[in-house]
């Protein structure tokens, strides 16, 4: 077990492409850090550099205090789980798991002990004499994990280990990975493009974009205090709504009406420049509510009317979609997000579609006007040019309103990415995985 330090690490490919640009990241001993980002953001390259599968062009990598730039993978003593498992198909499960110990010339007794121990943890004892070809996807995944844990390496690296599993199994394995990491307490770097995995698994999450780490922090921090448009849009599901707006003095003129932000946010906004200017406001779906249900919080937010185009009831909440007459907010960060989402056009013909997550008790109906309430304490204001968040100080602890509002957010951030794709985590599936599942922020 060891601390991993990436000190100004850069990766430049021979064709000149800059895959990883000056990344600084310290992964403490025993910490579980997630590298998340859209495809091509350099997260896998970063992982491969830690593993020693890619050369480091510039900067320094230290594992357990020792510079590891020039060390071969075998000398770094790191275990890695690959996206497609990379099991040795000609070896049995036992031989697969024992391979590294055999190479290290461990005694047969030790080898047997370790393999049996790992197989016990991973529930593979009955499958030890089978070949990978005879195993199911989830079992192969566990063998890949077993191969890594038998020899207590300095660190575990995981490269999208769950992306090949079907949705239900993925949720189950996610909790298993999390439990295993906590049990062994081994430093772990986990790469994923799935923000749900990022939010639920890690002690800290690093959001990467274009080879640069945009923000590092605990999941709730990224969620509540995103440093820029990209992080704000990437983390959270359904995604944050973005609308163009104008700041003029104390007021933010938006397509939802003139908004008066709370003092704290206004002060910070003012400290980032004054005068009239274009901005982008970001509103998470859960910070929009049916106005009839908010009660005495009503005066802390803004109220407006909108026609509900579409209503999806998930049982636990209702998603209401409505259209706001407005231009689409345009910024480079948002274009990148849209690209990652597969180029889905977020704007409809006559405006921008906004998603609201309403309480299940709401009696909103499709094609009917509804009075929405917007929690002004949670509105983010971004600079369209730099993408920077103008209302939240990400370096310091953040403002009062954020802390107060953190509690409900915690409960919600664990939600899956769209109800159709994954069952909610509380129904995590067979094997009683749900009850042992640690809280996302534990």
């Amino acid at each position: 077990m060891a601390e991993i330090v990436l000190d100004h690490v850069t990766k430049r490919f021979p064709d000149g492409a800059l895959a990883v640009d000056d990344v600084n990241l310290t992964i403490a001993d025993g910490e579980f850090v997630i590298l998340v980002g859209p495809s091509g953001c350099g997260k896998s390259t970063t992982l491969n550099m830690i593993a020693g599968l890619e050369d480091i062009s510039d900067g320094e990598l230290r594992i357990g205090g020792e510079v590891a730039n020039q060390k071969s993978p075998r000398d770094r003593d790191i275990g890695m789980v690959f996206q497609n498992y990379a099991l040795y198909p000609h070896m049995t499960v036992r031989e697969n798991m024992a391979f590294s110990l055999k190479l290290a010339k461990a005694e047969q007794k030790t080898v047997d002990e370790r393999v049996n121990w790992a197989a016990g943890i991973l529930d593979l004892t009955d499958h030890l004499e089978r070949k990978p070809g005879q195993l199911s996807g989830g079992q192969r995944q566990r063998v890949a994990m077993g191969r890594v844990i038998v020899r207590t390496p300095n660190a575990f690296l995981m490269d999208e280990p769950l992306s090949n599993l079907d949705a239900k199994l993925r949720v189950q394995m996610r909790t298993e990975v999390s439990r295993l990491q906590k049990r062994l307490g081994t430093t772990t770097v986990y790469v994923t493009h799935d923000q749900v995995e990022a939010m639920t698994l890690g002690d800290r999450v690093a959001v990467m974009r274009g080879g640069v780490i945009n923000q590092v922090g605990p999941p709730e921090e990224l969620y509540n205090r995103p440093a820029n448009l990209f992080v704000a849009g990437f983390i959270g599901s359904p995604a944050m709504n973005f609308l163009p707006a104008t700041v003029k003095g104390d007021t933010v003129s938006s397509p939802l009406g003139d908004l008066r932000l709370p003092d704290e946010r206004r002060r910070r906004l003012a400290s980032n420049g004054d005068g009239e200017r274009q901005v982008i406001i970001g509103i998470r779906p859960e910070h929009l509510e049916d106005a009839s249900l908010v009660g005495d919080k009503r005066d802390q937010g803004a109220v407006f009317q909108a026609n509900v185009d579409l209503l999806e009831s998930l049982g636990s909440d209702k998603y209401a979609y409505f259209t706001v007459k407005s231009e689409r907010a345009s910024a480079r960060h948002l274009e990148e997000l849209a690209e990652d989402a597969g180029g889905v056009e977020m704007a409809t013909e006559d405006g921008v579609q906004v998603t609201a997550r309403l309480d299940a008790a709401s009696d909103a109906k499709e094609d009917q006007e509804l009075e929405f309430w917007l929690d002004l304490r949670r509105v983010h204001v971004f600079d369209p040019e730099s993408g920077e968040n103008l209302t939240v100080d990400t370096v310091e602890g953040g403002d009062e309103a954020d802390r107060q509002a953190e509690e409900p957010a915690k409960l919600r951030e664990a939600e899956p990415q769209g109800a159709a794709a994954e069952p909610p985590r509380t129904e995590a599936g067979p094997g009683g995985a749900a009850e042992e599942e640690p809280a996302p922020d534990a």
């Binding site: 599968l53 890695m80 497609n84 040795y88 391979f99 590294s100 190479l103 996807g137």
Partner: protein
């Protein structure tokens, strides 16, 4: 995918014709090898007087027994060396980017296309000067050279099929590149290695041009070349029966080799390596 009765009959007939065309010369050869010298020209497909005299005859001749030993020895050594060298070269070509890689691939292809007969004359002189004329080495070298392109091409195709991640996994498991190659890649490429080995073996086993040109005595003469030196019982007799018997004898190892390795070739050893 419904096969009508007519289609079945049509395909069946086509298959029978193909099998007959391929099998009749061989059956004819076998039939000849069992015929008595006096009935060899009777034109009958079935030997009327069965005799094993031809077989006993050839095994009494040092010409044939020596040639058989030479054939087996030379073909096995050339196959082993050719496949071992070819595997290493193919692995480098499949996995590494090194200067001159394209040149290597291109020149391998060039050698494969070069007509062997055009090299025989210079090699004859060169081999005599070097003192390896009429030796095993003298035949192993050209066999290896001419089979290398074949093994490089087939093996690199097989290596490319093996996912990169396996070597990466092996590297992280603490294997040196050589260990990863020996313990992970080669076992997985085994079907490819065996296929290549069979092809190379057949090439060496069947070669006539080099065998006849670069040998002069029983020292290194292989069976295909030795067949040309068979004589009849008297100078007025054609050695047809003996040649047929010898031909049958040297076909047997080939059949055994193919039957032996057929299963390895067909077996999909990579099943389960990765998802899918």
């Amino acid at each position: 995918m419904n096969v009508t009765a007519r289609q079945r009959v049509g395909w069946g007939a086509a298959n029978v014709i193909v099998v007959l065309i391929a099998a009749i010369p061989i059956l004819w050869l076998i039939s000849l090898s069992f015929k008595d010298p006096s009935t060899i020209t009777d034109g009958s497909f079935y030997p009327h007087d069965w005799t094993t005299a031809n077989y006993r005859g050839i095994f009494d001749q040092p010409l044939f027994t020596h040639a058989l030993v030479n054939s087996i020895g030379i073909a096995l050594i050339a196959t082993f060396l050719g496949v071992a060298l070819g595997a290493m070269a193919a692995y480098a070509i499949a996995r590494l980017n090194f200067p001159g890689k394209r040149l290597l691939v291109a020149s391998a292809l060039l050698i494969a296309m070069f007509p062997a007969i055009s090299l025989v004359n210079p090699m004859f002189n060169l081999w005599r000067t070097l003192g390896i004329f009429d030796t095993w080495v003298g035949l192993i070298i050209p066999y290896m050279t001419f089979s290398l392109p074949l093994s490089i091409y087939t093996l690199s195709a097989f290596f490319r099929e093996i996912p990169w991640e396996l070597e990466r996994a092996a590297a992280l498991d603490g294997a040196t590149p050589l260990q990863a190659f020996r313990r992970v890649i080669i076992p997985l490429a085994a079907p490819g290695v065996f296929t290549t080995a069979i092809l190379v073996f057949l090439y060496c086993w069947n070669d006539f041009v080099f065998a006849i040109s670069l040998t002069s005595t029983n020292n290194a003469r292989t069976v295909p070349a030795a067949l040309a030196f068979f004589t009849g019982a008297s100078q007025f007799e054609q050695p047809t029966g003996s040649i047929a018997a010898a031909a049958v004898v040297i076909t047997i190892p080939v059949v055994i080799v193919v039957l032996l390795f057929q299963r390895r070739i067909v077996a999909g050893l990579t099943a389960g390596a990765v998802k899918g």
